[in-house]
Amino acid sequence: MQPLLELRNLTVAFDTERGQIRAVQEVSLSVYPQQTLALVGESGCGKSVTALSILRLIPSPPSRVLGGQVLLEGRNLLDLPEKQMQSVRGKDIAMIFQEPMTSLNPVFTVGEQIVEAVRLHQNVNTKQAYEIAEQSMRDVGIADPDKRLHEYPHRLSGGMRQRVMIAMALSCQPKLLIADEPTTALDVTIQAQILELLRALQQQRGMSILLITHDLGVVAENADAVAVMYASRIVEYASVYDLFDAPQHPYTQGLLRAVPRLGAVGQRLAAIPGTVPNPARFPSGCKFHPRCPKMNGDPACAGVEPALRQIEQGHWASCHHLPDFANKPITRPATDAKRAEGSAVS
């Protein structure tokens, strides 16, 4: 099956006074139709930059795409003229952001903001656009959408605003929704509701989701496939079952150990020692080696950056300490795995 969205070796850099910082390096991933791909990593690892680069929304200057391709149904978005790119944004790919509190314009009503998106991409008059907006707000579970349409964002709660953002994003029936930490700023109960809503909408409309998060709980419940990002690179890529059952990269293993589990009474939560490296001063070799429990003074770790290699069918990782790592093939990671309906990953 052909992926809906494919990133091939995307590299993005920021020009700063102290030189060039490569925030995203040779990231490849594929999102298949109706699939949810989760991009996981700590803050500053480059996952948001990756997402914004897909829509070419990173401010330039200072940032710049150094290489790679962003293919939407085989069409390279990086080569499109700005005018055509504008018709991709919102129509083919919609995006929702981490901060629902500030992502809506405070001086326009939510209705005006949704209608603006509708009228931009669909050939309808204002009245029809308002009907579409109202329906779209009803779809995301907002009560009394006809009244809410005429309210200003500051009158709505955070969860409600994120629903408005989703309504706006989905009003033009996009093929792909990029959700950049959609629940981070919300209360835990609201988080669950929003994720539930996204899942339901995905089922109804058959769209794909690129879910960016740092929360492994969110990944376990929503994703079909997972790409783990560390310090500008993808270090592991697999279906959600493979990743949670048999994590290969020491970083992924550390992350999973750091997740609190119900019933694990009296155990201390494991932490990965050290901190996320500063993008301006990445370590040499494998960027994880200063924090890696498997390193044991191995000169290869500090000297050579491991490529992302296919460890087995549908599972990619980059670690010198994996068995027979050097002989594994370097392939572009992609898996169209789908989670079984109603199952949970443990």
């Binding site: 700590e42 709980g217 376990a220 419940e221 609190p260 589990r261 050290g274």
Partner: protein
């Protein structure tokens, strides 16, 4: 897998990655503030004005530096120096030297400086020149009569109040070889007056803004610290003062307190007491947020006296907005002085750039371009320098641009 798992970075901070040893924050900000070229140029201009102010009587003076008249050697210039001239020179020389040699010890240096001033004032009181009527013409007359064997003039051989009564009409001459920037309505040299006027600018900058800052910080600090009724009353007071346009308040004060003897001091006080409200607002806001902080409560709990809590412990943490706006405040004070002098409500007879500018439109509607261009340019450059410096300090302290 349990749902609602937390974020994935409960990671320890290694000491190596902690911020590097905290060098003096203010030293760092100061270095950043003077880094841009515009700030360097601005500082250079301000330093130039300050140097002119200190050295004015040595640069522009009708009294010769050294003269041999009727066979007697003398230095009328040195004898003409008054107490203000000497005090400024001492502060500049001793202060500069101490600042270079031992920059760490602020209070001992200040004490030493004060001691020098006191000693000099005593010496001056006993041995200084007796008060005498200045007759600027005497040396020129003597030269014409051929009684002078040797004479060495100051670089600009005209005093600011030398009206050339001995020479044919020297009034309102455009710039020439003799008077580089021309002469004013009474015949005095414009350049000489401009150099001496630097003193007023310097005084305005330091004294008037200093008064404004002190009133503002004290009132704002008390308001923020006590809050409640003190704060409400204080805010009303600030609003009242801000509702009166500053210039209106200033000209009213100047017109009704026309002190003859201490006019300059009066002017500085008036500009100071009309400019404090901004500083009070900033300090109040800072103190309101500081008062609930741990170190303030610790200081209170330790039973420290109020002034110690307010000014030793809280002030260094709440002074930043005042520092940002100090430079703009000085610029505003300079404009205020120039404007008052321009409206003939400022200093009388003493040289001032603003007052000179007001003479540019002469009798009969003539326009004396040199009286407009040079003093105006000097005001503009000084104000611009302070504004550039303020912008630069602002940028250096801006947390968004600072890393």
């Amino acid at each position: 897998m349990s749902s609602g798992a937390g974020p994935i970075y409960p990671l320890a901070v290694s000491p190596a990655e902690a911020p590097a040893e905290h060098r003096s924050y203010f030293a760092e900000v100061a270095r950043d503030a003077v880094a841009p070229r515009s700030a360097k140029l601005a500082l250079a201009w301000i330093a130039c004005v300050a140097a002119m102010a200190v050295l004015a009587p040595l640069i522009a003076n009708s009294n010769p530096c050294l003269i041999n008249m009727d066979g007697h050697w003398s230095s009328p210039l040195l004898r003409s120096l008054n107490w203000t001239d000497l005090a400024l020179l001492i502060v500049a020389v001793v202060g500069g030297a101490l600042g270079c040699v031992r920059r760490k010890k602020f209070w001992p240096n200040m004490t030493l400086l004060a001691a020098c001033l006191i000693v000099m004032s005593v010496v001056y009181g006993f041995f200084g020149p007796p008060p005498q009527n200045v007759v600027y013409e005497q040396y020129r007359d003597a030269m014409r009569q051929g009684r002078v064997q040797f004479v060495l003039h100051a670089p600009i051989p005209y005093s600011p109040s030398d009206r050339f009564r001995d020479e044919p009409d020297t009034r309102l001459l455009p710039p020439s070889r003799h008077h580089l920037l021309g002469t004013e309505a009474f015949g005095a040299d414009v350049l000489s007056r401009m150099i001496h006027a630097c003193r007023i600018i310097l005084a305005m900058g330091f004294v008037a803004s200093g008064i404004a800052v002190i009133i503002g910080v004290v009132v704002g600090g008390l308001m923020g610290y006590f809050s409640g009724i003190v704060d409400i009353l204080g805010m009303r007071l600030i609003e009242i003062f801000e509702a009166i346009p500053t210039l209106f308040l200033m000209i009213t004060l100047v017109a009704f307190f026309p002190s003859e003897d201490y006019r300059l001091l009066m002017l500085m006080v008036i500009i100071g007491i009309t400019g404090w409200t901004g500083y009070a607002r900033f300090t109040r806001a800072e103190y309101l947020s500081l008062r609930s902080r741990d170190f303030v409560q610790a200081a209170q709990a330790a039973g420290l006296p109020l002034h110690s809590v307010l000014f030793r412990h809280m002030l260094p943490n709440g002074i930043t907005p005042v520092v940002i706006n100090l430079s703009f405040g000085i610029a505003a004070a300079i404009i205020a002085e120039s404007t008052l002098s321009f409206l003939q409500l400022g200093v009388i007879d003493q040289p001032s750039w603003g007052a000179m500018l007001s003479q540019a439109t002469g009798q009969g509607g003539d326009f004396l371009w040199w009286m407009a261009l040079f003093p105006g340019l000097a005001i503009f450059l000084t104000v611009f320098a302070y504004v550039l410096l303020g912008e630069s300090v602002n940028d250096a302290l801006d947390p968004r641009r600072r890393r």
